[in-house]
Amino acid sequence: MSKTCCRFFGGLLKAQENWLNRMSEKGYRLIRTGKLLYEFERCKPNQVKYCVEYIGQKSKDSAEDYHDFLEDMGYRVFYKNLNLNVSIGKLRWRPWAEKGGRISTNATTFNRELLIVEKENDGKPVDLHTSCEDKVSYYGNLRNQWLFLLLALAIFAVAGRSAILGVIASALLMPVLVYQAQTAKAKRESRIKE
């Protein structure tokens, strides 16, 4: 018996992850993802665990390579879109991406910014990043991306004298600060530990 749910989490990676894990607790495992849709099938309660990984900074090749690597490691991996964007022939520059920015199109990395990683539950959470320096680069990248969005909106808000954009821009401070705190914590630890 399959079950389809309609949800949108946007940039709330942790919320998406928690929701998927709650579905697993109820005995549903993911079999397919769409833009808004998640299709589940029955499984034993708590049979699997999920984590959501951001890969929007990667090129098409390195994203695919990473995806295949994770599948080889015994995980099931799903691509997921970050934003709700339905335009065709999209072309966008991602200045925060690796190697000084990358261009994203529908055929390459657009709408494939996230990976949902599923593993058989062995009591431990899915921990993809375990070393301090790796955490620094993962969280730092997430922070930079929110920061970029914040700055872009702040500039538009000032240029257009728009209060709404200003409010949205200040709301973006939240994720920037959260990821900054995580980056800084990993950085502090990396000074004395690995």
Partner: protein, 107 residues
């Protein structure tokens, strides 16, 4: 890799990956090797392993090996990688020797 610029120390993860690749292994086997050898003390996340493997390959310390008919990619140590592992062992011995002299004494 956060190799210490002057001292040349490897991270524990790096050293374990090098050690595991004295015989060719794919990613999952490397992760198992590390968990098994450390009794679960050091767990290696797949994302971290992926980054480390790429960095080591770039450095020329490990290389993919075997036929790529199967999708699972196997890696093995290069001569350069072996030299790096040997250097690290010598460094750790020296470090342990110094520490023994100060902390352990009789150990």
């Amino acid at each position: 890799m956060r190799d210490n610029v002057k001292g040349g120390a490897l991270t524990e993860v790096t050293f374990f990956i090098l050690l595991s690749l004295y015989t060719p292994k794919h990613g999952y086997a490397i992760m198992q090797f590390v968990e098994e050898k450390t009794g679960g003390r050091l767990s290696l996340g797949a994302g971290t392993l992926y980054g480390a493997l790429n960095a080591l390959q770039e450095k020329g310390w490990i290389e993919p090996c075997g036929d790529h008919g199967g999708r699972k990619k196997e890696y093995q140590l290069t001569e350069q990688g072996k030299a790096a592992a040997e250097n690290e062992l010598a460094r750790l011995r020296e470090l342990a020797h110094i520490a023994d002299g100060i902390v352990g004494g009789t150990a």
